[in-house]
Symmetry: C2
Subunit: 231 residues, 2 copies
């Protein structure tokens, strides 16, 4: 019965390194539940018990944060192949910290965390591959979150921008690169408003520290860029 999903989940970070026929056994062994949702339907309700790790098999979902006051805002948009609730699923009790709603039609696979952890009777050896994958996913997530906190900890906007650009520079060792965000998304990510960031970027260009055009950025004065990062 899981044959139909093989194509959809093949190559997913959760199943990396598992061959197709093993993947089918794995699914039959862990028996994930696959549920279809219509646009707007609730996939996960904040505060409720989780069915397991979520995998977007088709369509997409919105991760929604609700404020104590009742406002809602979209925290993240996830497309096909995305894995969510991977951290909360391994906690006891596993309570969803956010609400997830279907954006359009979608199919979501819920993989019970305990069936991942405990080897089955047949003790299929790809369990251990999946566990390694999960460790990698969780570690990656923790690193990304740490990075973001690092930026948000910097008080001045120029500092945040500089730290962000320097981080890319340090990884690529190139002073010219393309950033993966639009300007508005970058402003969001850095926790500042778009017009303010636009103004600051303009200043930094005027001062001869950087240059940019669309998503292409160039670091002109590496020293002054580094100098503006103060925590």
């Amino acid at each position: 019965m899981y044959e139909v999903y093989i194509n959809a989940v093949r190559g997913n970070s959760l199943f990396k390194g598992i061959k197709d026929n093993d993947l089918l056994s794995l699914l039959e062994c862990t028996r994930p539940e696959v549920i279809s949702f219509q646009k707007g339907e609730t996939v996960i309700m904040s505060g409720e018990k989780l069915k397991g790790i979520g995998i977007v098999v088709s369509g997409g979902v919105d991760v929604i944060k609700e404020t104590a006051g009742g406002d809602r805002y979209i925290f993240a948009k996830l497309g096909r192949g995305a894995v969510f609730a991977e951290a909360a699923a391994f906690l006891n009790p596993s309570i969803a910290p956010v609400t997830v709603a279907s954006a359009g039609k979608s199919e979501i696979m819920f993989l019970p965390a305990e069936r991942v952890i405990f080897s089955c009777e047949k003790s299929c050896n790809f369990h251990s591959i999946m566990i390694r994958n999960i460790l990698e996913i969780l570690s990656n997530k923790a690193m990304l979150l740490n990075k973001k906190i690092e930026y948000l900890t910097i008080k001045s906007m120029r500092g945040r921008i500089s730290a962000y650009l320097l981080n890319i520079y340090n990884k690529s060792k190139k002073t010219s690169f393309k950033i993966p965000y639009s300007k508005s998304d970058l402003a969001d990510y850095l926790g500042v408003t778009r017009p303010s960031m636009s103004r600051e970027l303009g200043r930094m260009r005027d001062e001869g520290i950087i240059n940019f055009n669309g998503r292409d950025f160039e670091i002109i004065d590496l020293n002054r860029l580094a100098g503006s990062v103060k925590y």
Copy 2:
């Protein structure tokens, strides 16, 4: 040779649920390296390859962030029993994102990540317990980091304070509680300056929303507290 460390690592979150004699086998099987450091010595150098997951066996360490400009500041202080580098250790390549220095004399155990993941020839079954522990540690960490980002995403200081207090209220369902931070530490955690926070707390008290004394807080007007959380 690992007998001397049993007492120090027993009860550590990494070894939770493993009995003493199993623990000894586990250590002999995973062969962690234990190194002594003097005050100020570098335990981990940012950018270098990690020896594995770090466990503070005795003494304490400081986690140090270095800015691109060369400034250093203490990101966290870890005491006996603390586990560090648990996320970076599972990545490939496993590069330290921060510097860790010994505060005073200390003994640090480095547990190679790959020896945790891959079951040994004897396939000791406590491997799987440890893996579950690590999954829990990483998940917990991701949840904590997420929570912090949630606070930092809120623009107004009153909103951050309110979200923080409401979070405690939601967990305890009590309107009176003791917070685990000093005021200055709380200000740090929420990413604001202490005098500013002090001023804002005073205002909230004047307006009859909260009351506090030292680390004891009382929520007086839950609705208005919830109303000030805006992302």
